[in-house]
């Protein structure tokens, strides 16, 4: 085989080029920490890594939703704790009527109850990050709107309908309609004390449709997607909010019963006649007391439900973190280098490069010309 003069150099240059390219690649890998820089270096690994990146990004978005759901859940739970204090106080007061002996006692209790109503409303209209917590889906509007008495108003019930009382003659005897045999009723004008007080409370939020006809998500049911196939409804459901509404209106009823000193049903009135009446009448304190037990239970149940929600969120957070870390590990396995292995490869290539340079310069430096005179 003939070995032409430039055969050495061509072969050496080719070899040096290949070794140099390898050195550059290994150096690039070491400086970036990545085994793959471009998709053509390992298309299938890059394909998997891109899919992983998309999934990681989705988990991050869902995790942010989860954080928000947690915030809403924690605030809601704390708010219900505060509401429970109001309910507890109202319940204790309603059960403790022994001290109510004079009109002044009743009035003082009525004013105290009114304070609880105002306090409870402020608590229940709590917001977090601009959203009302107990409004169902209608989170931009305060859910518990108080309608207040003005001068000249009569007492009303929770629907705004006037409450009546049995008319009495000058002797205090109840008046009966001769034709129907029923009592005659009259409206109850509000006292000066009551002007500006809450007449009744309206709920402006949405109610949860827990069983929508087509199985679809409805506007009433605010859900956040917080993980792979996982959703949570962090806001207090509308049906629950309506129970809180009932509590407020019965607090108003209790206050009005204190004002009217209606501890129990008037013994002068015939229950049989009263039973036929359709006129809305003011509840007695005795009637209202057992209902506050229910309200206390409702609020407690609400707190428990948020506790369960927060527990679920905690579990989902762990699942999300675990999935994210697993995906990150997969990405790393696909794209990252094994530093020790890469350094060894770089050293090996460097050694080969130096050997090629050394042997090349030795061979190319000599020819027959060096030995003839």
């Amino acid at each position: 085989m003939r070995v032409p003069f430039n055969g050495y150099s061509e072969s050496l240059v080719n070899q040096l080029g290949k070794l140099n390219l390898n050195q550059v690649n290994f150096q690039k890998q070491l400086s970036s920490g990545q085994r793959v820089q471009e998709s053509y270096e390992d298309p299938s690994a890059v394909g998997r890594a891109l899919a992983t990146a998309t999934e990681k990004s989705r988990i991050q978005a869902q995790e942010r939703n989860l954080n928000r759901a947690q915030l809403i859940g924690e605030f809601s739970s704390e708010t219900l704790e505060q509401l429970k204090l109001v309910v507890d106080k109202a319940r204790i007061d309603a059960n403790n009527t022994d001290g109510l002996t004079s009109p002044a006692d009743y009035r003082a209790r009525a004013l105290q109850t009114n304070q609880l109503i105002e306090q409870g409303l402020r608590v229940a209209n709590a917001k977090v990050a601009g959203d009302y917590l107990f409004a169902g889906a209608n989170t931009a509007e305060a859910p518990f709107a108080a309608v207040r008495y003005e001068e000249g108003d009569n007492l009303v019930d929770e629907n705004g309908a006037e409450i009546k009382r049995v008319q009495r003659d000058a002797n205090g005897e109840p008046l009966i309609d001769g034709g129907t045999g029923e009592y005659l009723y009259e409206s109850i004008p509000v006292t000066d004390d009551m002007i500006g007080m809450v007449a009744y409370v309206e709920y402006t939020g949405t109610t949860t449709n827990t069983n929508p006809p087509d199985g679809a998500t409805t506007a009433d049911d605010v859900e956040f997607r917080v993980g792979e196939g996982a959703t949570v409804s962090p806001f207090s459901p509308g049906t629950k909010n309506e129970e809180y509404l009932a509590f407020f209106n019965e607090m108003v009823g209790l206050r009005d019963a204190y004002f009217e000193e209606r501890l129990e049903e008037d013994p002068d009135l015939d229950p049989a006649i009263l039973a036929t009446s359709t006129e809305p009448r003011l509840d007695t304190i005795e009637d209202l007391v057992p209902r506050f037990d229910d309200h206390q239970q409702n609020v407690l149940l609400g707190i428990v439900e948020f506790g369960a929600l927060l527990q679920g969120i905690e579990v989902t957070t762990k699942i999300n973190e675990s999935r994210f870390n697993e995906l990150e590990r997969l990405s790393s396995r696909e794209l990252d280098i094994d530093i020790a292995e890469t350094i060894v490869q770089l050293n090996r290539t460097q050694t080969a490069y130096e050997a090629a340079l050394n042997s090349g310069s030795r061979i190319m430096g000599l020819s027959l010309l060096d030995f003839i005179r």
Binding site: F5, E41, T54, F324, I372
Partner: protein, 502 residues
């Protein structure tokens, strides 16, 4: 007496031949680094013989010619391999450019390491689509939050902008490739003209002296190799034409189109943009260049780039259609109960096909909804951060619509071959990456084949320093010896003329 003179003459001829051989060795050494040079060797031999008293005596040593050490088979084979390699390398470069245009870089330094890191999911179309749907997911959890709405709106603008930029980049690449084809065709035509010039020069020199234009033949081979980088040409020496070659290109019909040759002036290749074909001037037949830079550029333009553009358009259309199908609210004029304005997310298709619309969106014209679809629509709400709808209802915190749109991120689309938007966009990157990798594997093989042939050719035609120096010494010694013989003859003659006459 006549014998001495004859010997003197023979010796002079021998000296001349040795001298020529030394000169040739010097020339070979001078061209030692000239890749296109094929070594030459002086052929020597005796010419004629005569009857003498001792029998037949051979004639003087003369240089009877110069051998051009070339392997024509290797030369011809190399032309093809150069074509294939050049085409693959061009394709590799352009495909990498297309890949860079897609913008989906592999950069782990920007990756989120923890679930609560705030990092966007990469660049490129896939990243923009992911970001779009992720912000919709966030909007579902914060429908009233002004910042989230602004971020969502910006993500939508970013997505639209990404489609536009991709379209522009690929349009630019398409135009650049078209320009490149035109410019490279011009260069190739110049090379044809130069080759013709060399061909004619060879013919002039070799008229009556076949095979003598050795350096020009080297130059012609170099020129042919240069031409081969552009297209797969075939050359053959035409007998009886004083060393001229005929250069042909493969025709689409299987015949070969002559580009130049004896009696055929160099023709021009031209590119017909209308049907993306090449033709040779004076012929209506299409030529199929098969390999080399020109068909490679055209292949990237007509297959890869246009394929990518088509796929990006598909993503744009599918995405705009699917989002609008959910988001669109048809206009109901005043007097209708209820009267509602037209609402849409993307400008087209508004109304979407599900509502009777027929619009098709491309990456170049995708836009956010800003004006009514029809002049009859007198009330509309352009898309903005504040007008973004998250629900079909008017309930402020409802998020049913936002959830449904966010759900599209993981929904397989029939228009995209039952893949999600992200998967389809990722596939564009990985498929192109696979094409490049396949091409690189072929380049490696092709380089090996070319290197093998070049090495073989260097072995045959390359200059060896040791061989040439050794030849030079050999001819120098022969020259010295012949000179010595000449001296002896001269002295003999001197003795004969001056010594014997006294």
């Amino acid at each position: 007496m006549s014998g001495i003179f004859a010997n003197l003459s023979s010796t002079a001829s021998s000296l001349q031949s040795q001298s020529l051989a030394v000169q040739q060795a010097g020339k070979n050494i001078a061209n030692i680094n000239n890749d296109s040079y094929a070594r030459q060797r002086i052929l020597m031999g005796t010419v004629g013989s005569r009857e003498s008293s001792t029998g037949q005596t051979s004639g003087p040593l003369v240089a009877i010619g110069t051998e051009h050490v070339r392997d024509l088979f290797l030369d011809r084979q190399l032309l093809g391999e150069i074509s294939y390699l050049s085409g693959l390398e061009t394709q590799d470069f352009r495909l990498k450019q297309a890949l860079a245009n897609l913008g989906d870089t592999i950069d782990r330094s920007g990756d989120a390491q923890f679930v609560d890191d705030i990092v966007q999911s990469g660049g490129g179309l896939r990243g923009a689509i992911d970001y779009f749907f992720d912000t919709f997911e966030s909007l579902a959890a914060r429908p009233n939050d002004a910042t989230t709405r602004q971020v969502m709106f910006q993500a939508s603008e970013n997505l639209v902008d990404m489609f536009h930029r991709l379209d522009q980049r690929f349009d630019l690449l398409d135009n650049e490739l078209t320009s490149q084809v035109g410019e490279e065709v011009d260069i190739l035509n110049d090379l044809f003209a130069e080759l013709e010039e060399i061909n004619l020069s060879i013919a002039r020199i070799e008229t009556g002296n076949p095979g003598s234009a050795l350096d020009l033949r080297d130059l012609r081979q170099a020129k042919l190799e240069e031409i081969s980088e552009y297209a797969l040409v075939e050359s053959r020496e035409v007998k009886g034409s004083d060393g001229q070659i005929e250069l042909t290109l493969p025709g689409a019909d299987g015949d070969r189109e002559v580009v130049l040759g004896p009696g055929v002036s160099a023709k021009s290749l031209y590119f017909d943009e209308a049907d993306s074909t090449f033709r040779v001037s004076g012929s209506s037949e299409e030529v199929d260049l098969q390999a080399g830079l020109l068909p490679a550029v055209l292949d990237v333009r007509d297959n890869t780039v246009s394929g990518l553009q088509e796929n990006i358009d598909r993503v744009a259309n599918s995405l705009a259609t699917e989002v609008n199908e959910l988001y669109y609210q048809a206009f109901a004029p005043a007097g209708t109960d209820p009267a509602v304005p037209e609402i849409s997310f993307f400008q087209q298709p508004t109304p979407p096909p599900g509502e009777g619309g027929t619009g098709v969106v491309t990456a170049s014209d995708i836009a956010l909804y800003s004006e009514p679809s029809d002049p009859s629509v007198t009330d509309f709400i352009p898309l903005s951060a504040s007008s973004l709808r998250t629900s079909e209802t008017s309930v402020s915190g409802a998020n049913d619509l936002a959830l449904e749109i966010a759900e599209l991120a993981i929904t397989d689309q029939a228009d995209l071959g039952e893949t999600s938007f992200s998967e389809f966009s990722s596939n564009l990157v990985t498929r192109l990456g696979q094409d490049i990798r396949n091409g690189q594997n072929r380049i490696t093989v092709q380089e090996d084949v070319k290197e093998l042939l070049e090495t073989r050719r260097r072995e045959v035609s390359g200059v060896s320093m040791d061989e040439e120096v050794s030849s030079m010494l050999q001819y120098q010694k022969a020259y010295q010896a012949t000179s010595r013989y000449f001296n002896v003859l001269s002295e003999m003659l001197d003795t004969l003329i001056n010594g014997l006459g006294r």
